[in-house]
Structures are given as C-alpha cells and as structure tokens.
C-alpha cells in the first residue's frame, strides 16, 4: 500500500517540479483566496505544516508516539514572545524574521533536556513518559504566572523596531509570507534530513532497534538526536503561531489537547509518507476553523472520521493517494471512477442521515430551550416530530447498506487490480 519515500527517490527533474509547485502554491495562495478569513486559515496552515512534519519525524520516521509535542511548540512560542518583548524593551537590533530561530533553539534546548529522559525507552514507555512530561510542564506553567502569564497568557506586539526591508509585519499578508518562507525552508530541511545517515538510522531504529545496537549504533542516542531536531522545528512552528496571534496562553498552547491534535492530524494526513503531515495540517485548520463554524458537534465528527481512518486506511490520506497513484501508474485507475462515485453518493446519503441524527440529538441535549426546530442543510428539522427522526434513520440505514454494498464491490475490484499489478511487477523483475 505505502511506498517508502526513502527508497523510491524521484528523479532530479520531478524533484524540482514538486518543490517548485510547493513554492508556487505558497506564494500564490493568498492571491487566489483573497478574503481575510482565508489569509488567517493559510497562516495557520503554514506553521502547522512545520509542526506536523516535526511531529512526524518522531511518529512516522522514528516510531516514537509522543503525547507531548505541544511542550516544544508551546515553549518555543513562549520563548519567541519573551524574545520579542525583550528586544522591544531593550531596543536590540534583532528583526522579527529571526525570532522563530530563537523559538526553535528554545524548542531544541527543551527537547535536549526532556528528551534525554523520554528517549531512554521506546514504545509504550516512551509514550507514557511524554504524556507525563506534557502534563507536568502544563501544570508548572500555570504555577509560574510571571513567565507564562497564568490564565491570561503573555501578549506582545510584533511591529517593533525599524521595518525590515520595508516590512513592518503589521498587515496579516506580511505575516503570512514570513510563515510561508519558514514553511518552505523547514519543509525542505526536514525532507533533507530523511536522506542523511541519522535520518536513515532513525528509520532503522523504528523498524528494529535491537538490530541497530548490533551494528554499532546506540539506539537511545539516535532517538535523542532526532528528538532534539524535531524539537527545533516544533519551536519554530510554535514561534510563528505566537507571532501570528501575538499571544501565547499556557492553558491552550501547552495543553494535552493540543498535543493530541498534532498526533491526530499527523496520523490522519499520513505518517508513513513524508508529505502526509502537510495534508494533516491542512485538515486540522479546515476542521477547527470551518467545521466548527458549521456545527457545534464538530469534535464528534472528527472522532468518527478518525475512527473510520484507523479502521480502513491506517496509513492516512497520503497512503490513499499513494495507492491510487500506483494504480494509475499501471493504467488501472479508470476501473474505479464509477466505484468512487458510488462510494461518494452512498456515503453522502448515509452522512446526511447520521448527521441529521447527531444534530437533532445535540439540539435536544443543549438547545432544547430554544424550541424543537433545528436548522440542517437549509432545512428545518423538528425534533418533536417522529417523521424527522424516522426520515433520518431511514436515510442513515439505506445509505449505510448501499455504502457497504459498493464498498464490498470496490474491495473486490481493488484486490484484483492489486494482484494484477503484483504479477506485472514480478514479470518485469524476471525480465530484468
């Protein structure tokens, strides 16, 4: 299903094409989506790409399931805020564009200290230690309100000093481009990391730590060094978030919720492919900004999506894309257009039924005082009428049954196509 990005290196020209288009998208995005909401969304996507990629350095490349990544992004953010305030107060000639580096170094330093403890062990122990450290740091931060600002957090003003190359970083557009430049450079650096000896040994430690220790490497050091590098990029991401909002709040930035969402969306995007977390970052912002506008039950939908992905596509969205690219490469994708359409239509029918039920239940639980009517897809559903409930249930059941029917057919055709591809590959191998 999944291709290993480390072993199937694309050729130089396609490399250039991919990075060129990435840069182009970053540059052009605010001109295509011109609204101020779009600019806010794009800015968030930019730094979350850095954060999710830095998280995947641990999860996807190192097999380290961290529950405490917010520690490094959050403390990086605090470092950045304090740096800006210090530089402003003391008139230090340090431009805003370099502040994220300070945040990154802070993240790396924290990862150096805490990583020594957490990377001693892998697997479940590692996960538990990161969880513990995460809670610990969040609790400590609330105790020292001088440094972390307590409930209110720490605020700053990013438009200090003389403009840098004429940029004041007052307008959101300028901040977006600051984020975009960092996003591109950090993504490139993290991709480069996958091609270095340490990057490769990190994969080896993920796959088989015992074997690594019998070919001369100290697995703990491999994990620790990777952890520090991940902390560096996490700190940069956190700093950019701090610059974007001009505030960092410990109860949010250092919370377990935040660590959890980095994990969740990196996984949803796809931890087994390098670009997976980029998709994850996009989904994360779309979910938290757009989905939450549509419905108060957005976390519930998110949980459902996560559940379905874990069950049917544990490699995330990226692995689905890679699998389809593979099928397309062997010229078999045309078989699936109809099936995909079928999945989409039946899925939407089921979704309509299920979400109508969810919205109605949410309505009776939370907003019953405002009357029995609930708005849904431009319709008015009456939670007191049996017909509305019956209709929703019928939609959900029929849609679900139809979806399952199409899914089985899809699985059959898919399996057949995979078999054909396998035999084709074997034939080529023997011919070579």
């Amino acid at each position: 299903m999944t291709t290993n990005p480390t072993t199937h290196r694309p050729k130089k020209t396609s490399h250039l094409l991919v990075w060129g288009s990435f840069a182009l998208v970053l540059v052009a995005a605010p001109w295509i989506f011109g609204s101020s909401l779009a600019l806010t969304i794009l800015s968030q996507i930019g730094y979350l790409i850095i954060i999710c990629l830095s998280y995947n350095m641990l999860l996807g490349q190192g097999g380290m399931l961290s529950f405490g990544h917010a520690v490094y992004t959050g403390l990086g953010g605090f470092a950045a805020i304090h740096a800006i305030n210090y530089v402003t107060d003391h008139a230090v000639p340090l431009p805003l564009v370099l502040i994220p580096i300070i945040g990154g170094l802070a993240g790396a330093f924290i990862a150096f200290l805490l990583g020594y403890v957490s990377t001693k062990k892998a697997g479940t122990t590692f996960a538990m230690i990161t969880l513990g450290i995460g809670e610990l740091v969040a609790a400590i931060a609330m105790m020292f309100s001088g440094v972390f600002g307590g409930e209110g957090g720490i605020t700053t003003n990013r438009t200090y000093g003389t403009p840098f190359l004429g940029l004041t970083f007052g307008p959101q557009m300028q901040v977006y481009y600051l984020i975009a430049v960092y996003c591109f450079v950090c993504t490139a650096l993290m991709y480069a990391f996958t091609g270095t000896p340490l990057g490769r040994m990190l994969n080896a430690v993920r796959d088989n730590p015992e074997r690594v220790s019998f070919i001369g490497y100290d697995t703990q050091l491999v994990r620790w060094f990777a952890f520090i590098i991940s902390g560096f990029f996490a700190g940069i991401g956190g700093s950019l978030a701090a610059i974007n909002f001009e505030i960092v709040n410990a109860s949010d930035a250092l919370s377990g919720m935040r660590s959890g969402s980095y994990l969740l969306f990196t996984f949803l995007g796809g931890a087994t492919v390098f670009f997976g977390p980029i998709i994850g970052a996009v989904l994360m912002v779309l979910a938290s900004v757009l989905l939450s506008e549509f419905t108060t039950a957005w976390l519930l939908y998110l949980g459902l999506v996560f559940l379905i992905m874990v069950m049917f596509a544990p490699g995330g969205v990226a692995s689905l894309i890679m699998a389809n690219v593979r099928v397309a490469r062997f010229g078999k994708l045309h078989r699936f257009w109809g099936l995909y359409l079928g999945l989409l239509v039946t899925g939407l029918v089921m979704l309509a039924g299920v979400s109508a039920l969810i919205e109605m239940i949410y309505h009776i639980q939370l907003n019953a005082a405002m009357g029995p009517e609930v708005k849904f897809l431009g319709m008015q559903l009456d939670t007191s009428s049996a017909a509305a409930w019956a209709g929703a249930i019928v939609l959900a059941v029929i849609g679900g049954a139809a979806l399952e029917f199409v899914r089985r057919r899809f699985a059959r055709v898919w399996g057949q196509a995979q078999e054909e591809i396998e035999t084709e590959i074997k034939r080529k191998e023997q011919a070579a």
Partner: protein, 256 residues
C-alpha cells in the same frame, strides 16, 4: 598469545537456574568454529553473552585480549564483533540496499551525522553495492526486506552482519529452516564472505559442521566439554556418549 575470543569460567543464571556453568573457550584469530550441542545446552545463551545481548553472572569474555563482558552490544560491535540471529533480524521496511548501507555506516565513521547526504557518501554506497552482489541479491536491490523470501532474508541477515567489516563473526543457526540445496549454497556464501575472519557458528546439520569448521566446540549442559578438530571431536568418547552418537555416523556417511 591473545585469542580472538576467549571465555573464562563464564556463568549465567536465570533466577536459580544456571544455564551456563563455567564455560571456557579460546578461539584463535582466523579459526572457523562450529558450536554444537543438544537443544537447550546453552549455545544461543553463549552467543548472547559474548555479543552483549546478555550480561554474564560471573566470568570473563575477552575480544582480542580486551575484556568485553558487561559492555553494551554497540560497544562490542565497534570493537569488531558482529553477530546474526536465529530468528531473522533485519529492517523489514527498508530495501535490501538500505539494510546493507545501515550496516556499513558506523564502521566508515559516519555515526550520527545529519549534515551530509547518504547519496554523497561514495565509500558507503560502493561498499553496500558490493555487499548486495556478494549476498546474491542484486536482482532484489530495491525490494523491501519484508517482501523477500525466507532464504533471501537469511542471506540479507548475513550481509548486514558482515557489512561493518567485523573481524569476529557469530552466526546463530544461519541455515535453520532451509532446504538441503539452499543450505549448501548458503554454506558456500558464508565461507566466501568470512574469508580471513574468525567465525563462530551454531549449527545443527552435521554435514555442514564437518564441512565448514576448522574446529568444533561441543556445548553440553552449559559447559564446553570438548574443543578440537572435527576428527578429534568425532573420536572423543565423552562427546560420543554425551551427544553425538548416531548423528556423527550419519554425517560421515554423508561425507564419503
């Protein structure tokens, strides 16, 4: 003289059970030694003690005269000892080439660096390419290790073991689970890639033992009861009684 491997009164207990009970062995550099013995005699435990996977309860292990018991596996490996495992132990999600290159990196001094690209490490890449051919997996160079056949995985395991250029090689049942023809090919491979090295191998197939080894170490009940040339071991009454018996006769029949 200093030996490549020397065990002095080596003991290992698990709880109250003593598995290795005062093993002594001195292997000269360049010797090929087959370690034989009945199931549960402690052959694998002995390998685990030598390679640092387990630490002895008492006694000493020396590698080229340096005491190594109590060291971590990677410290022992850096001193020139490398081992394979009874159950295939490779990097399943890396390609054949990547597996071998991982084995090469430390010995060429690349260590934990992240400031250079693997693709630019010409010596490491050349050595890995050579290894790919040596273990006979040129056609499978870019196949993920998990997709190899069992025999191919065993060959890759040997490749990863010798990749770092260690002078002492420990192979734990390298031919386990292989067919007769696969085994004989495999023994040729082992002989070829361990030229000039000190080799210790646990082996059950007596034909292989007598064909490959300069010396045989017989481990029974946690002790090395005999260590000598194949002919002498074959003639050793104590060995006959304790272990070999009919299988020696079989092997002789097979050899002549």
């Amino acid at each position: 003289m200093t030996y490549a491997i020397e065990l002095k009164d080596l003991r290992k207990s698990f709880g109250k059970t003593e598995i290795i009970r005062g093993a002594n062995l001195a292997v000269a550099a360049g010797e090929r030694v087959a370690v034989i013995g009945p199931n549960g005699a402690g052959k694998s435990t002995l390998f685990n003690l030598i390679s640092g996977r387990l630490h002895p309860t008492s006694g000493e292990v020396h590698l080229h005269g340096e005491r190594i018991d109590g060291m971590k596996p990677y410290e022992i490996n850096r001193r020139g000892l490398s081992r394979s495992f009874q159950i295939t132990n490779i990097f399943p999600k890396l390609s054949v080439f990547e597996n071998l290159r991982c084995g090469v990196l430390w010995s060429l001094g690349y260590r934990y660096t992240f400031l250079r690209f693997l693709s630019g490490l010409h010596d490491a890449n050349e050595r890995a390419e050579t290894l790919v051919r040596q273990v006979g997996l040129a056609a499978k160079r870019d196949v993920l290790a998990i997709n190899l056949t069992y025999a191919e995985q065993r060959a890759l395991e040997i490749g990863v073991t010798i990749a770092g250029g260690a002078s002492v090689i420990l192979l734990d049942e390298p031919t386990a689970g292989m067919s007769k023809t696969e085994t004989s090919h495999f023994i040729d491979l082992i002989r070829e890639v361990t030229v000039g090295k000190t080799l210790l191998t646990v082996e059950h197939d007596m034909g292989v033992v007598f064909g490959l080894a300069d010396k045989i170490a017989v481990v029974v009940y946690g002790e090395v009861i005999a260590f000598d040339t194949p002919e002498a071991v074959r003639a050793n009454a104590r060995v006959q009684e304790a272990y070999l018996g009919s299988s020696v006769a079989d092997a002789q029949g097979g050899l002549h």
